[in-house]
C-alpha cells in the first residue's frame, strides 16, 4: 500500500521547557493510505506533539515528515499539507470559530477560496456525514460535547482531506459523546479516509489496523491491536491499562487457567469464559 505520511528520524524538543530530554526521539513511522492507525501513550509521552508534526503545526528539529511527497518544512506548500491532513483536537470548545454551526464548518472551504456554491455543497455534505445536518443553524454553545466534536469533524471534512488526525478528541467527552465520535471515526475510515487516532483509551484502539505504543518520545512498538494487547508487560510498563474484558482474561491467565486470550470486548470474553466453563463441567 502507498504511504500518505512518511516520518523519518524525527527529533523534536520544545526550546522553552525545563526538561532537556527530547519530546520526540528518533521517530520513524509510515502511515499507509486508507489505514486506521492508533497511537496510544500516557499523558506526556509525546503523542500530541507527534500529532502536530503530521500537518506542519510543528516542524522537526531533525529528520523529516513528508505528506504525499511534500515535506512539512516547505513553507510554500503548508496549505496543501493541511488540506490533505486535517486535525481534530481535544477541547471541543477551543476549535469552533463561529457562532453558527454551518458558518463554522464553512471556515475551511472559505480559507481555501472555494466559491460560495462550492462551500455550501461541502458544508452540507460534511454536516450530513457526521449526522449534524439538522443542527446547521444552531449555536455551537447549545450542543453537547459529542455534538461539538462532530461539528469539528465536519469542519475538517469540508476541506476534503485524505487523512484526519484525532488528537485525543474523545478525552473530554462523556461515554455517550465518546461513542458518537468513535462511531463517526470508524465510518469515515470505511469511506476511505486515513485515520490517525491518538488516545489513552485502549478500548478505542481495537478497531485500528495498527497500533503504536509511545513512551518517552519514542515509539516502543507498532503492531496489530491484538498483538499489542497481549503484550501485558509492555502495557503495564507504559502506564496504560487494558480494557476491562481483557483485564479479566489476563487475571484468569495469571491464575493458570488456559483460556483463549484473543478477546476485545464483553462478547468475546463471555465466549472465551463459557468455553473454559464448559470444558470444566465436562471434565
Amino acid at each position: 500500500m502507498e504511504n500518505i505520511i512518511e516520518i523519518k528520524n524525527l527529533y523534536f524538543s520544545y526550546v522553552d521547557t525545563d526538561n532537556n530530554g527530547a519530546v520526540l526521539d528518533n521517530i520513524n513511522l509510515d502511515i499507509k493510505k486508507g489505514e486506521f492507525l492508533c497511537i496510544v501513550g500516557h499523558n506526556g509521552s509525546g503523542k500530541s506533539t507527534l500529532a502536530k508534526m503530521l500537518n506542519g503545526l510543528l516542524r522537526p528539529d531533525k529528520g523529516t515528515v513528508c505528506v504525499n511527497g511534500i515535506y512539512t518544512s516547505d513553507d510554500k506548500h503548508l496549505i496543501d499539507i493541511r488540506k490533505t491532513v486535517g486535525m481534530v483536537f481535544q477541547n471541543p470548545d477551543n476549535q469552533i470559530i463561529a457562532s453558527v454551526v454551518e458558518e463554522d464548518v464553512a471556515f475551511g472551504p472559505e480559507n481555501l477560496g472555494c466559491s460560495p456554491q462550492e462551500s455550501r455543497r461541502r458544508v452540507d455534505q460534511a454536516l450530513s456525514a457526521v449526522d449534524m445536518a439538522e443542527y446547521k443553524n444552531t449555536s455551537p454553545y447549545k450542543l453537547s460535547g459529542g455534538q461539538k466534536q462532530r461539528v469539528a469533524i465536519a469542519g475538517v471534512l469540508a476541506m476534503r482531506p485524505q487523512c484526519i488526525v484525532f488528537d485525543e478528541s474523545t478525552a473530554m467527552l462523556d461515554p455517550k459523546g465518546r461513542k458518537e465520535v468513535i462511531a463517526t471515526v470508524n465510518k469515515l475510515n470505511k469511506q476511505g479516509i486515513t485515520v490517525v487516532l491518538i488516545t489513552h483509551f485502549m478500548e478505542e484502539a481495537r478497531f485500528a489496523d495498527r497500533l503504536c505504543i509511545m513512551d518517552n518520545g519514542k515509539i516502543l512498538k507498532t503492531d496489530t491491536p491484538y498483538n499489542i494487547f497481549s503484550d501485558y508487560e509492555l502495557i503495564e510498563n507504559t502506564g496504560l491499562t487494558l480494557p476491562e474484558p481483557m483485564k479479566l482474561i489476563k487475571a484468569l491467565v495469571d491464575c493458570g487457567i488456559k483460556i483463549d486470550n484473543k478477546v476485545f470486548d464483553e462478547k468475546d470474553a463471555c465466549a472465551a469464559i463459557a468455553e473454559v466453563l464448559k470444558g470444566g463441567a465436562e471434565k
Binding site: 502536530k52 500537518n55 503545526l57 496549505i79 493541511r82 488540506k83 486535517g86 486535525m87 483536537f89 477541547n91 470548545d93 477551543n94 476549535q95 469552533i96 470559530i97 463561529a98 457562532s99 453558527v100 454551518e102 458558518e103 464553512a106 471556515f107 475551511g108 472551504p109 472559505e110 480559507n111 481555501l112 477560496g113 472555494c114 466559491s115 460560495p116 462551500s119 455550501r120 458544508v123 449555536s139 455551537p140 454553545y141 469539528a152 469542519g155 475538517v156 476541506m159
Partner: protein, 270 residues
Amino acid sequence: MLKDITFGQYVEADSIIHKLDPRIKILLLIAYIVFIFIVNNLFSIAFASVFILAVTILSKVPVKLFAKNIKAILPIIIFTAILNALYVGQGALVIHFWVINIYEGGIYRAVFMSLRIILLIIISALLTYTSTPTALTDAIESLLSPLQYIGLKNAVHIMALMMTIALRFIPTLIEETDKIMSSQKARGASLDSGSFKQKVKALLPVLIPLLSASIRRAYELADAMESRCYNGGEGRVRMKQMTLTLKDYIAIIVSVVFFAALIILNTFAV
C-alpha cells in the same frame, strides 16, 4: 448571576424586517436617524411616529420590549422635556406658578423633543431585535470593505474575524467565569464584600485563572484555525454572500418615499 446576561438582543420572529439584508438595515437606520434630526415641527414628527410604529408592528417584535428600552432612559426623556418646556418662551402663557412660566411653544417643543428621542430608541432597537449579532458583524465587514482600497487591506478582515470570535466565546467565557467563581467560593473566597481595594484583591483568584484559561484557549484556537488552512484574509471567500432581494429594494423605495413625504411636510406644514 452572571449566567443571566444574554448577549445581543435578537428576537426570533418570522417578519419581513427580519429578512431584510442587515447592510440595508444599517444604512436605513442611519438615514432614519438623519431625517429624524432634520425635521423640526411637531406635525412631521407625528407623521414619522405613525410610520415607525407601523414598521415596529410589522417586525412582530413584542411591543413591551420596546417599552422596556424607553423605560430605561425615561429619566433622560423627562429631563429634556422639562428643560425645553421651561426655556422656550413663545406663544401664550399656559401655566404660571411662582417663578415658573410655561408657554404654549414650550409644551410644543417638549413633546417634539420627547418624540424625537423615543423614535431614535425604537429604530435603533429595531435593528438589534431583528438582526443576529453574526449578521450585524458580517454586514459591518461588508460595509467597511471599501476601506481595503485605501491601504487598509487586512484591517477590515481582522476586525471582522475578531468580532466573530468574540461573539463565539462570550458565552463560553461567561460560563467559565461563573465556574471559577464557584470553585473559589467553595474554598471560602468572599468575592463581594469589603472595601474597593479588598474587592479588587478578592477578584484576583477569579481573574488569574480566567486569563490563563483564555490564553490557553487562544493558543488552541490558533492551532485549530491554522489546521483549517487559515492564512489571513487573502483569498478567503465567504460562503454566505449577502445579496439584495426584492424585499430590500421595496424597503429602500418605501423609505425614500417616506423621507420625501417627511421633507415635504416639514417644509410646507405650518
